[in-house]
């Protein structure tokens, strides 16, 4: 094995975690290679030391903070409950209202643009009568909306 291949397996060798064949190969190599042996000794000094787990300092305020977080979440719980119930429906409801508003607005706008004013409508009716003669149209029944509309139109033209 090459030096690099040997060296990258040294921690595994130290922990005796390689296959027996690999352990033997490395052992044989170390007998004849002072460079790899030196690397092994330095790694051993770093790796095989007593673990100082019991000396890890745990800040005493962690429990206080956890407690405070849990209490804070409890208080928020009621509002979160409402939020969680309402929020999922809020989006679709707003979208539906907007769509309805757009639809109604569109219809209203269309009516405003395309509907002629009363005066324009009356003018058009009179022009049609002049072009085709009043006999062209069937007589409107007396007292009907059409008769009243025609009377208004004629008055408007006279003015």
């Amino acid at each position: 094995m090459r030096h690099k291949t040997i060296q990258k397996k040294l921690l595994g060798y130290l922990d005796n975690e390689l296959s027996p064949r690999e352990q033997q190969k490395i052992r044989n190599h170390l007998k004849i290679c002072s460079t790899c042996l030196q690397e092994l000794q330095q790694l051993k000094a770093l790796w095989q030391i007593e673990q100082p787990i019991e000396r890890m300092k745990i800040p005493p305020f962690i429990w206080t903070r956890i407690s405070a977080r849990l209490k804070g979440e409890e208080k928020k719980g009621f509002f979160n409950g409402i939020k969680n119930t309402v929020v999922p429906f809020l989006g679709p409801v707003i979208m539906a209202v907007l769509l309805l508003w757009a639809l109604i607005g569109g219809i209203q706008l269309g009516n405003i643009i395309s509907r002629p004013s009363d005066q324009q409508a009356a003018m058009q009716t009179t022009l049609a009568e002049n072009d085709f003669g009043s006999s062209y149209f069937e007589a409107l029944p007396p007292g009907s909306i059409g008769t009243r509309f025609l009377a208004i139109a004629k008055n408007e033209i006279k003015k």
């Binding site: 990258k8 921690l11 790694l43 007593e50 100082p52 890890m56 300092k57 956890i66 977080r69």
Partner: protein
């Protein structure tokens, strides 16, 4: 109070029981968080997150796995998630270019005898190299080396197969050896 009783009491909203669970597992959780992050403040925040998650999800704990394995799993997953978020945040803010690289080891240095200082320094070198490992390799190695978990326990905690644990640990040690050799050369 035995483990089952403890869990039942926590599920029933007994805060004293939850405090007891915290006292029992805080060292393990804090150790994992510290070794995963290499930063005391980060470890404190992660420890808080872990216990808040435990509190909220204990209702779903059915006792199929050991309580300790379940807590380890929450701790490892929380740390991995925080690490991903941190990487993303660093990538977005480019803070990684300016962050303080100084790392420390949470041992009481002031009253440490002189011979222990060398020990601490060596451990710092190893810690620094472990921190540079890919996240999952790092988690497996920490659970094995510092928490003394068996391969089977690591497989249970990380929810992977036994052969995946072997492979992770094998690769982590190869990578760590390379890093330690290169670090040693720089020193």
């Amino acid at each position: 109070m035995d483990e089952q009783e403890l869990i039942t009491n926590i599920k029933n909203g007994d805060n004293t029981a939850f405090k007891q669970l915290f006292d029992q597992y805080r060292h393990f959780v804090y150790n994992i968080c510290y070794r995963m992050s290499g930063n005391r403040e980060e470890a404190e925040d992660a420890t808080q997150d872990v216990f808040v998650k435990i509190f909220h999800s204990i209702e779903r704990f059915r006792g199929e796995a050991k309580l300790s394995s379940w807590i380890y799993r929450i701790a490892v997953n929380t740390c991995l998630k925080r690490e991903r978020q941190k990487k993303l945040a660093n990538w977005v803010s480019l803070d990684i270019l300016f962050q303080n690289k100084k790392e420390f080891y949470p041992i009481d240095h002031e009253d440490a005898p002189e011979q222990q200082m060398e020990h601490i320094q060596r451990e710092q070198i190893v810690q620094g190299a472990i921190r540079q490992l890919p996240a999952r390799q790092k988690a497996a190695l920490i659970l094995h080396r510092y928490q003394d978990l068996s391969y089977e326990e690591i497989a249970q905690v990380m929810e992977i197969s036994l052969s995946a644990v072997e492979s992770l640990l094998h690769r982590s040690k190869e990578n760590l050896t390379k890093k330690l050799i290169s670090l040693k050369k720089k020193i």
